[in-house]
């Protein structure tokens, strides 16, 4: 984009021309940015045993804070749930939503997405003896998904007739497949690849379906100052290779080694 070369300083300059204070100003004034993340979705965003926020989303968030406020620790973490991410943005209780937010048209109506920093595809995993290799095989069977994920949204939208078993927690979602609660499990394919590595007897019968979706930071509707700043920042991070580094640090260990980073990262 044209703003690719813009530095932090220039974006600051452009904001200064506007009379009303923008979110970016306020954040700088407060010297802290409030970022919404998940607390229980490793490897994207979670809280580790020491109570620190970790994960891919978190790495990027920290870099954003560092570039915006000069210090990666100037973040107020807000732990969100899938169901309340938009509320947090709309009511201004967070400045930036980094909780693994998949871009969908419905969501784009109520929040502003910045440029994406990650791609997801949905994969389907099923037990070896009874492999699901095509979505059509799921008719009349139960499909396990995790609440609030792209997979849930995708199947609700495109295959309303497939009966979904929806679990609140990732662990429970995969446990349900182990317990044989459903015929198959649909999730981000990256997670699935990682999981089958540790669970022999299951195969990813469908490796990727539907459109490739993207994950992007989101800001409150109409908050152009911040979304423009984030857009520029994401582009910079993509180009500088920071995102690839973050991938290596957080996602790669959780995924199986045969995954091509290009299937996950933007601009690779």
């Amino acid at each position: 984009a044209c703003g690719a070369g813009a530095t932090n300083d220039s974006s600051e300059g452009s904001v200064a021309n506007i009379e009303d204070k923008t979110t970016v100003d306020t954040i700088k004034e407060n010297d802290v940015i409030r970022i919404g993340v998940f607390g229980d979705k490793p490897p994207f965003s979670y809280v580790d045993a020491n109570g620190d926020n970790q994960g891919f989303d978190v790495e990027i968030s920290k870099k954003i804070a560092e570039d915006l406020l000069g210090d990666s620790s100037k973040i107020e973490w807000v732990i969100t749930e899938a169901a309340n991410r938009v509320e947090y943005l709309e009511t201004g209780k967070v400045d930036l939503m980094m909780a693994n937010f998949t871009v969908t048209p419905e969501r784009a109506e109520v929040v502003d997405f910045a440029n994406p920093y990650m791609k997801v595809s949905i994969g389907i995993v099923s037990p070896e003896g009874d492999v699901i290799t095509d979505v059509s095989q799921l008719e009349g069977k139960q499909l396990i998904v995790n609440k609030g994920t792209t997979a849930e949204a995708y199947f609700r939208e495109n295959y309303p007739d497939i009966e979904l078993l929806v679990y609140e927690q990732n662990t429970e979602t995969f446990q349900a497949l182990l317990d044989g609660r459903g015929a198959a499990l649909a999730h981000d394919n990256t997670l699935i690849f990682g999981w089958i590595k540790d669970n022999p007897g299951f195969v990813a019968g469908v490796e990727a379906i539907g459109n490739e979706d993207t994950i992007a930071p989101a800001v409150a509707k109409g908050d152009t100052a911040l979304s423009e700043w984030v857009n520029a920042e994401i582009d910079t991070l993509n180009e500088s290779g920071f995102i690839a580094e973050a991938y290596e640090k957080t996602l790669a260990p959780a995924f199986s080694s045969d995954i091509d980073p290009a299937s996950v990262l933007i601009n690779q």
Partner: protein
């Protein structure tokens, strides 16, 4: 509010309401039976069983249904018992509700004056007859207000069923909020649905309660 959206979402709520009512009533009936047995055992202070049930009551009342369900649903398969989510939901309600009903009914049993039992036996009624014809009807009438409150409470407790992937009302609402971000519509429909099925039940309970007031001796 988005009326079109509401129209589209109503069937989901309807389905959730039916699920809650279906599982709720079965669970409540089982819970009532458990409560009845437990309260009778505790009322007559049957040895061993009475202590055992007291342990059950404490366990059931002092822990959240959500965790109880979790153990039923994810724990039992570890020991080879596979129960469907619906069965777990019913069992969970039964486990939780059993103790609440037990305490409610025991309160009713204990409020029946001793003289009632004595005058029944002095008429020659057997212990079972005394219980069936004299003690129990009065006990139920006396404890009906708390039984009624517990029925409503248990129906609302079904909102944690989503922990085991059952599509209860809260589940549907959260789903709509999480997927489409129609928070207002989702919550509005949820309250309305609760109202639509809880209000008649609540009114029915009030009505029965009034009809049962005969148990209040004297005035």
């Amino acid at each position: 509010m988005d009326l079109d959206f509401i129209r589209k979402a109503i069937p989901m709520y309807q389905e959730a309401a039916f699920l809650v009512l279906r599982l709720g009533w079965i669970g409540i009936i089982f819970a009532f039976i458990i409560g009845l047995i437990v309260s009778i055992v505790r009322y007559y202070k049957l040895p061993v069983l009475s202590q055992f049930f007291e342990g059950y009551i404490e366990m059931s009342r002092n822990t959240p249904l959500m965790i109880q369900l979790f153990f039923l649903y994810f724990g039992l398969p570890q020991v080879g018992i596979h129960l469907s989510a619906e069965v777990c939901g019913i069992l969970g309600l039964t486990f939780l509700g059993g103790s609440y009903f037990a305490e409610a009914i025991r309160g009713g049993l204990e409020s029946v004056p001793n003289i009632q039992m004595e005058s029944a036996s002095s008429l020659g009624l057997s212990n079972t007859q005394t219980f069936l014809y004299v003690i129990f009807p009065q006990a139920i009438a006396n404890s009906f207000p708390s039984i009624g409150a517990n029925i409503i409470f248990l129906l609302k407790e079904t909102s944690v069923f989503s922990a085991i992937a059952l599509a209860d009302l809260v589940f549907v609402a959260k789903d709509i909020m999480g997927l489409y971000y129609k928070t207002n519509e989702a919550l509005f429909l949820m309250v309305t649905t609760y109202l639509v099925f809880l209000l008649p039940i609540s009114l029915l309970i009030h009505f029965i309660e009034r009809r049962l007031r005969f148990a209040g001796f004297g005035n």
